[in-house]
């Protein structure tokens, strides 16, 4: 009880109990936009990781994000990265693995950063054999980045959620004694883009997430960044713009805590005790969104503070779709 009260107090002091409404998150020049400024606690012993989604183009935008991620690592020494699917678009010959993965992330790979991949709809499941994706031959798997940190990750194959996988997930979640349970996969159960929320997937996974206390879910597929307001005690992120971008694609809905569809992004995350800090950064190294996810004693997310600060689009960028202020229906288009 004391833990909950303390967490609530911290949240109240830092501004809000739930994510701020999107309307408040207007573009403004703030200190958070100072290039390459790490806005995470960066504590010794915390779990630090990188989040990349929809990466495998081999194009200049992927390279720009990879470069920023490597630059940030010199100040925020994350040990591993999670990949949210669509790791290799198009052809998957050996040269494609090199051009679309090994070369862009060479500085990180050389520094010993481990990449944990999940499969997207553009990925051949044979990627599960690829050493540098650390999937150990499995389409879905779980791992703990450290034996002591109390954080467990669940990488799912949302392109093929058959009953076997659902059963596996339930068993693994039930047997996980971890404080933080983090799931990552490709298709978003909640999103406010062209495709909207994947209702079928949500129907299968959300009851398990809620029942077994999954705290945070990272997904891609939609080529933008969106922080969803906590849903049933679970914090969802869509982060599918690490190499592909659909400008102006977010139709802000009642689900949206903050959204950014004007540039390529990646995320840095730090888990420290009952708090998970996040910072979303664009290809110029500027912070787009930062915040803290607070976990209560019952393992549910009791609130997320966040401060999005979307920079103005580049001069040559196409104009964003007008945001008409009409929230999408509660059950947006399923994907």
């Amino acid at each position: 009880m004391r833990r909950i009260l303390l967490s609530t107090l911290v949240l109240a002091l830092t501004g809000c109990l739930t994510a701020q409404p999107a309307d408040n998150l207007t573009a403004q020049a703030t200190t958070s936009q100072t290039a390459r400024q790490v806005q995470l606690p960066n504590k010794d012993g915390s779990v630090k990781f990188l989040v990349l989604g929809d990466t495998g183009t081999g194009g200049s935008d992927q390279l720009a994000i990879a470069k920023q991620a490597a630059a940030f690592r010199s100040r925020f020494p994350f040990d591993f990265a999670i990949m949210l699917g669509d790791n290799l678009y198009g052809s998957e010959r050996p040269r494609d693995y090199a051009r679309k993965f090994e070369q862009p992330y060479k500085p990180l790979l050389d520094a010993g950063v481990k990449f944990y991949a999940s499969l997207g709809n553009h990925d051949d499941p044979n990627q599960r054999m690829y050493k540098l994706f650390n999937m150990n031959g499995e389409r879905y798997y779980t791992f703990k980045p450290s034996l002591t940190a109390g954080v467990r990750f669940f990488a799912l194959d949302s392109t093929y959620m058959d009953p076997k996988q659902v059963e596996w997930l339930e068993e693994e979640l039930a047997n996980s004694g971890s404080d933080w349970k983090i799931a990552f996969f490709h298709h978003p159960p909640y999103a406010s883009g062209m495709h909207g929320s994947d209702e079928i997937l949500k129907g299968q996974l959300e009851p398990l997430f809620v029942k077994y206390g999954v705290n945070v879910v990272f997904t891609g597929h939609e080529h933008f960044y969106e922080r969803i307001k906590p849903q049933k005690g679970v914090q969802y992120f869509v982060s599918g713009s690490s190499a592909k971008l659909r400008r102006g694609d977010i139709e802000r809905s009642s689900l949206t805590a903050f959204g950014y569809d004007q540039g390529y992004t990646f995320m840095l995350v730090e888990v420290d005790g009952d708090q998970m800090h996040f910072q979303t950064i664009d290809s110029r190294g500027k912070s787009i969104d930062t915040g803290v996810i607070m976990k209560g004693a019952n393992d549910k997310v009791i609130g997320t503070t966040g401060r999005g600060a979307a920079p103005k689009p580049a001069q040559n960028a196409p104009a964003a779709k007008p945001q008409n202020g009409n929230p999408k229906p509660q059950s947006p288009d399923p994907k």
């Binding site: 709809n121 054999m129 150990n136 959620m161 659902v166 495709h195 079928i200 597929h221 288009d333 399923p334």
Partner: protein, 209 residues
């Protein structure tokens, strides 16, 4: 004779259900069935005419999987392979499968009876969905996988996405071993795809109505 084969078939089906993970061990050696799906209903009772069709499907599939596994055993690949090893294994396996299945044709596994049953099993899942969901069933990322279907042909991953198979459809069909998977292409065709070799094993035209 019929009296003799019926219990044998029931035993075989029961073993298959257990093997597919359709039942769950609750500890203390007690096994209870999961909620009954149409597939389970069919396999639970040999009197159900669908059970014979499903048994036939499983026998045909088993025949394929046995061959595939034998070939894979001869050319194992480490779980920490390089891209070159992954590609080589995939291409070698595909070539070997084509060689031993030279005469394979559409309907060898998805026989007309199996195809009719699968369409029937999937229909409620499709029928009850709103229009947007139906659209989502057949499109991926705004794209539709346009695949020229031919048994033993390579699935064109270079140019086409691998469409997500909706979980409700997967739950309505018999579960598959990990070597093969169901995919929906061209908005309506159900494809049985070899995951390791990336080849089309069989397909059902217009499986989604």
């Amino acid at each position: 004779m019929a009296e003799l084969t019926r219990p044998v078939l029931a035993l075989a089906l029961s073993a298959w259900i257990s093997g597919c993970g359709l039942t769950r061990d609750q500890g203390k050696g007690e096994t209870v069935p999961e909620p009954i799906t149409p597939v389970q209903q069919a396999t639970a009772s040999p009197d159900n005419p669908d059970s014979a069709i499903l048994a036939d499907f499983n026998a045909r599939l088993d025949n394929y999987i046995t061959k595939q596994r034998a070939l894979l055993k001869d050319s194992p690949v480490a779980e920490d392979a390089t891209p070159a090893q992954i590609t080589a294994r995939q291409e070698t396996l595909a070539a070997e499968l084509r060689a031993i299945r030279k005469t394979a044709k559409q309907g060898d596994i998805f026989t007309p009876q199996v195809a009719a049953l699968f369409k029937r099993l999937m229909y409620p899942e499709v029928k009850e969905q709103p229009r947007e969901t139906k659209q989502a069933l057949v499109e991926e990322d705004g794209e539709v996988a346009q695949v020229w279907l031919r048994v033993n042909a390579t699935y064109p991953l270079d140019t086409e996405p691998l469409p997500t198979t909706p979980s409700n459809l997967l739950a309505s069909l018999p579960q598959l071993p990990m070597e093969v998977e169901y995919r929906i292409t061209n908005k309506r065709h159900l494809v049985l795809r070899d995951v390791d070799a990336n080849i089309i094993v069989d397909y059902i035209y217009n499986a989604i109505r």
